[in-house]
Amino acid sequence: MSSIELKNIVKKYGDGFPAVNDVSLDIADGEFMILVGPSGCGKSTLLRMVVGLEDITSGDLLINGKRVNDLAPRDRNLSMVFQNYALYPHLTVFENIAFPLRLAKGKHSDDEIRSKVNDAANMLELKDHLERKPANLSGGQRQRVAMGRAIVRDAEAFLFDEPLSNLDAKLRGQMRTEIARMQRRLGVTTIYVTHDQTEAMTLGDRVAVLKKGVLQQVASPRELYEQPVNLFVAGFIGSPPMNFLPARVDGSTLKLPFCEVPVGGPLAEKLRGLDIVIVGLRPEYIKDASVADVPNGVHFSAVVDQTEWLGNEQYAYIPYEADHAVQSKLDELDRDLDGEGMRTQMIVNLDSRSRILEGDEAQFAFDPAMMHVFNPETGENLTRDDEKAAQIARDSEQQRKAALERARAREAQGADRSAGDRSAADGSAADGEARAS
């Protein structure tokens, strides 16, 4: 259990290109930190630097306040789950999980190893597979063995490198909740690398969004969603993604492709001097005016090109002509987000009751307060409310602490019970956790 601190971490490869550039992160004890970004953003490199498989070009890495830059992986006492699991094919599941314990020579007796491995196996429901070889296991079981190997010893932190990307969608969902539950129960500091934003949003206490090796924003999932600092974060978080519409600034109105939005207050101040801005609108903030009432909403009508009905919701696609002045910026953003050449269309997340058909001209409405305005040059979010963001951060930090507290209380309870069950037992923490379930 420990805190991990990254100070101005830089990774340069032979050609001098910085894969990770000046990243500073503060990960608190017991926190679940997600590193997320499109491919090639340096998130895996960063994780491998933390665990010690990559050298740190410059900057400091501190675990519990101690600088560990020059320590070998085995001396950092971190455990890691690899993307392809990296199970040892010649060892049984039991021996795979016991491997780290056996390496710590003399520290654990055979009985201790057996009980620790059994506890981990119980927790991950691997009890029936202990004598099998990894080759005979399913993808999900292998994944659990890899996690078992990580949790069996008392590591300072868990590191996950895209652990679910090799699983099919259904299993991924199950394992995701499993990981979340496990992390809370053990209360161990965790760094989790993913490119999947569902994982990022659901698992993380805080999420660090990286782009080309540069840290964009570190915040709780809610803050990322509601108060993104720039165009990149806004576009990366959310599915379907935020709509980016070019808008001309005309005095105190914004001229969007479909409508005009009056602006006032501090935003109008910030808009002074800008000709063109990019307006970000989340698909779910645009409503079908015929089924939903939007007070103070901006109304507009547009022709729907395509609809997709998914049962619980419905997407409508509305094409528009983009302003050339911002098109290049939007194209660049699309490339950054691993996109495949964006069609200039707006996605609307409609109520599933909505009866809009393809080809219909329909009435839509949105609340301008939900709108984000970005500077097209810098990508900066002009509508970000720092006060609100700070409030969200405080809330989620409180929630995290409460959840940890709850988990620890439950654990203590479980430990008491198990101690009562067998007074002669060795009462190790792992025992208690396994029993708490």
């Binding site: 665990v51 010690g52 498989l53 085995r74 990296a86 390496l103």
Partner: protein, 287 residues
């Protein structure tokens, strides 16, 4: 792999491979047949059937001759020498090559390519060109007609070969395996011993067999760098067999000896056929 071959192709392949099989197996059968012929049968076609091929009354006289009879003084020590020299050479070659190949496949160091190309060049070097200088050198430093004197040149044949096969094997083992071991708390040596070595075992095994054959079958070194039973191996000893009289060729005895030294090779190949094929094609085909 097997499913997409049509019947037509199958028959075609069979039509081509059967002549090739006959082509390669007949000399071996001929040796076996000859080893079973008596001296008389060797000289007189009427004592044989299938057109001088198989003896009408096969005898084990030739085997008796080389194992317990007159030629046994020559053959038995040579067999022992062969076994000792080849096993030692194989063991050293595989041990050295394992470390070398591991370093080549895992570490990035200057001169890596140089080592590999040198190894390849050495294994292409004609043996006969090395023998004369070695002969002179070995006489000077007293290695002539000793077991070590043969083991060293055999290493020069088998080590490059082993390095090539083994580095292909090591490259197949995912590097993450080793990184996982290091994160789990292993030193580099522990990671090698507990994770990489067991995984590479089939490769090491294949390499050992190939290296053993190379040494076992060598004739040029064996005949030139030895002069007595001290170190002479079977292939060389065969050349020194003599017939019953000055005018009889020891054909039968030579064939019997050839069969005896071929048997272990054939058994090894049959037993480990799959592994050898897998070993030879590894690196070329991704499993």
């Amino acid at each position: 792999m097997e499913s997409n071959i049509s019947d037509k192709t199958k028959w075609g392949l069979a039509a081509v491979s059967i002549p090739i099989m006959i082509w390669t197996i007949i000399p071996i059968l001929w040796i076996v047949a000859t080893s079973l012929k008596s001296d008389a049968a060797l000289a007189d076609p009427s004592k044989n059937m299938f057109g001088n091929f198989w003896p009408k009354s096969p005898s084990l006289d030739n085997y008796r001759l080389i194992l317990t009879g007159g030629a046994s003084e020559l053959f038995n020590p040579a067999l022992l020498n062969s076994i000792i020299i080849c096993l030692v050479a194989t063991f050293i070659a595989v041990l050295l090559a394992t470390f070398c190949a591991y370093a080549i496949s895992r570490l990035d160091f200057p001169g890596k390519r140089l080592i590999l190309t040198t190894a390849l060049a050495v294994s292409f070097f004609p043996v006969i060109a090395m023998v004369t200088p070695l002969f002179n050198l070995w006489r000077q430093i007293g290695l002539f007609d000793t077991k070590i004197g043969l083991i060293i040149p055999y290493l020069s044949l088998t080590v490059p070969l082993s390095i090539w096969t083994l580095s292909a094997f090591f490259q197949q083992i995912p590097w993450e395996m080793e990184q996982a071991a290091q994160v789990d708390g292993a030193t580099s040596w522990q990671a090698f011993r507990k994770v990489i070595a067991p995984l590479a075992a089939p490769g090491v095994f294949t390499t050992a067999i190939i290296a053993f054959f190379t040494a076992w079958n060598d004739f040029v070194f064996a005949v030139n760098l030895t002069s007595s039973n001290n170190a002479r191996t079977v292939p060389a000893a065969l050349a020194f067999f003599t017939g019953a009289s000055q005018f009889t060729q020891p054909t039968g005895a030579i064939c019997a000896a050839a069969v005896i030294v071929t048997i272990p090779v054939v058994i090894l190949v049959l037993l480990f056929q799959r592994r050898i094929v897998a070993g030879l094609t590894s690196g070329a085909v991704k499993g």
